[in-house]
């Protein structure tokens, strides 16, 4: 273990967990209301970032306006997916619907390639790359306090991502619309019997998932650049949702932090072999947790009655 670098990697890892949590939130939103595991979430995220890039760089709009426009577009895209790809499949076996999202992910990828090309893009800088924050920790190494250096980008992406998750969480918890969405997710027939318009609710879930994906895509693209491979970040979000529990919003934060932390920890290792496991760490953590708690850390234990 490289002790001097450990605090740095721990904090960096935790902060990186923020955008992971936000990405996972998109998956949870869809799963909560429809029981569909959405394999196209990564492509929604990619498209959100591409929309933003297009408005800001190609069309020359101010960055804030570009982000707002991209959010609107991705919400519409979400609505559209529900209306034209998924609603016609109502009543089909769940597996077919999940496979449909897999097909959608390929289709969206193809559209991204067609409209935006596959080149690496210069995504606009949102946070200054200069002047990273320097934080002096209480830990001493070789008689000197350990100082960690945090890029502005990392810190603010974390703050925005976690705020995003909290806002959506509060929406679900405290608003009538959120209550309707929680109800609709539990039992579609029952929800219809009390007059909930479940298809509209599903549409809103997909629109929200598009919005969340775009926010995540923008945050990730501004730190790591933008090309078609951006969509693979959901691979790290899969373990986050399974860890947190598929329908738990707070679970995404805890899952995101845990996965981020695990990646930070192995990166601090002095053995290159262990350092190199950082990519697969999310899955290792996932396996361990699922063996102990199959419903995830915050998943609902199904309440069944005799």
């Amino acid at each position: 273990m490289n002790w001097q670098l450990l605090p740095q990697f721990v904090v960096t890892g935790l902060l990186a967990g923020g955008p992971l949590a936000l990405t996972a939130l998109g998956l949870v939103l869809i799963f909560k209301s429809t029981y569909i595991f959405n394999f196209a979430q990564g492509q929604l995220l990619l498209l959100g970032a591409l929309f933003t890039w297009w408005f800001a760089v190609e069309a020359g709009f101010p960055l804030w306006l570009s982000i707002v426009l991209a959010l609107v577009f991705s919400a519409l895209l979400g609505f559209g997916i529900e209306r034209f790809a998924l609603r016609p499949m109502t009543g089909q076996p769940l597996l077919s619907i999940v496979l449909m999202t897999l097909g959608l992910s390929q289709a969206l990828h193809g559209l991204a390639l067609l409209f935006f090309g596959g080149a690496q893009r210069n995504f606009p800088q949102i946070f200054s790359a200069a002047n990273p924050y320097k934080v002096t920790t209480p830990f001493i190494y070789n008689d000197n306090p350990i100082v960690i250096i945090l890029k502005q980008n990392l810190v603010w992406s974390f703050v925005i991502a976690i705020l995003g998750v909290l806002v959506i969480g509060a929406f679900f918890r405290y608003t009538h619309a959120g209550l309707a969405m929680r109800g609709a997710s539990e039992d579609h027939e029952l929800a219809q019997s009390i007059g909930l318009r479940i298809h509209r609710i599903f549409g809103v879930s997909w629109a929200l998932a598009g919005v969340v994906a775009t926010l995540g895509g923008v945050l990730l693209a501004t730190s790591s650049g933008l090309d078609l491979s951006l969509s693979v970040v959901v691979l790290a979000a899969f373990p986050v949702v399974l860890l947190g529990g598929l329908e738990s919003i707070p679970g995404t934060i805890v899952g995101g932090l845990l996965i981020g932390l695990s990646q930070g920890l192995v990166s601090a290792s002095s053995l290159s072999m262990i350092r190199n496991t950082s990519e697969i760490m999310p899955y290792v953590v996932l396996l361990i947790v699922l063996l102990i708690r199959p419903e995830g850390l915050f998943g609902q234990k199904r309440i069944e009655r005799i």
Binding site: G91, L179, A180, R182, H188, L190, S193, I194, I303
Partner: protein, 261 residues
């Protein structure tokens, strides 16, 4: 207020379940819909509430009118907004939500007015004490009160209850039925009460229909039906000498008798 005119229902384009059902449910009255398992009672309710569609079912013949308006092709969401609520069989709850959240959801189609909660708590005071409890953990009786209360939150003009007594102790059923009776009188609601437990249902109902094989085979004022020998034997499970007899034992013989003459 509600009129069913000779309706037929077919599931999945091939399975015919209702073969010409006519009935009505007037304001402020309780109509019992009786019949053995598989007779088509739930299907009749689904035809009225529009929930047939989610089951791949269709009204292929006849028509359904509510307050003079045809409703047999409307979406369930819109039928609820006209004032018809079907309380599904099996005490279906949003199990992971609290009692109060369940109730609020019941009123959400009308804008979810929290003040209506008090009205439900008047009928079922026990629910008030349990309001912060996760509903999945309630007892069977409490769950039944909750689903009826949730139906009431919609301020329906017609409430349809599908086998509310199933699996509950007789005393509890009586208690719940009394509240149902009160509700229909005070709120001026029409109630369709689907039951296999004919004896209790006939006690609070004003009128009753008996279904068999997708048809109404008998109907009349509840008091009169309670005295009917056939009903006594089939649905109250009593033979003339008063001993219990299962419906199955007498079914074939009796049905032949009825249809042949």
């Amino acid at each position: 207020m509600l009129l069913l005119n000779n309706i037929e229902v077919i599931y999945s384009d091939v399975i015919q379940v209702l073969r010409g059902v006519s009935m009505q449910a007037p304001e402020g009255k309780i109509v019992a819909l009786l019949g053995a398992n598989g007779a088509g009672k739930t299907t009749t309710l689904r035809a009225i509430s529009g929930l047939l569609r989610a089951q791949e079912g269709k009204v292929t013949r006849g028509n359904i009118e509510f307050g003079g308006q045809r409703i047999d092709n409307l979406d369930p969401e819109n039928i609820v907004r006209l004032g018809i609520i079907q309380v599904l069989e099996g005490r279906r709850l949003f199990r992971h939500l609290t009692v109060e959240e369940n109730l609020l959801l019941g009123g959400i189609a009308r804008g979810g007015i929290a003040r209506d909660l008090e009205q439900v708590y008047e009928y079922f005071p026990r629910l008030k004490d349990l309001r912060r409890r996760v509903s999945g953990y309630l007892s069977g009786g409490e769950q039944q009160m909750l689903v009826i209360g949730r139906g009431l939150m919609a301020h329906p003009k017609l409430m349809m209850l599908d086998e509310p007594s199933l699996g509950l102790a007789p005393l509890l059923v009586q208690e719940i039925f009394e509240e149902i009776k009160k509700m229909s009188e005070r709120e001026g609601m029409a109630i369709i009460l689907v039951e296999q437990n004919a004896r209790l249902a006939l006690k609070i109902a004003d009128y009753a229909y008996v279904m068999e094989n997708g048809r109404v085979v008998l109907d009349g004022p509840a008091a009169q039906l309670a005295e009917n020998e056939d009903i006594k034997e089939f649905y109250l499970g009593l033979t003339q000498v008063g001993e219990r007899k299962s419906y199955r034992d007498v079914k074939h013989y009796k049905r032949r008798k009825r249809w042949l003459g």
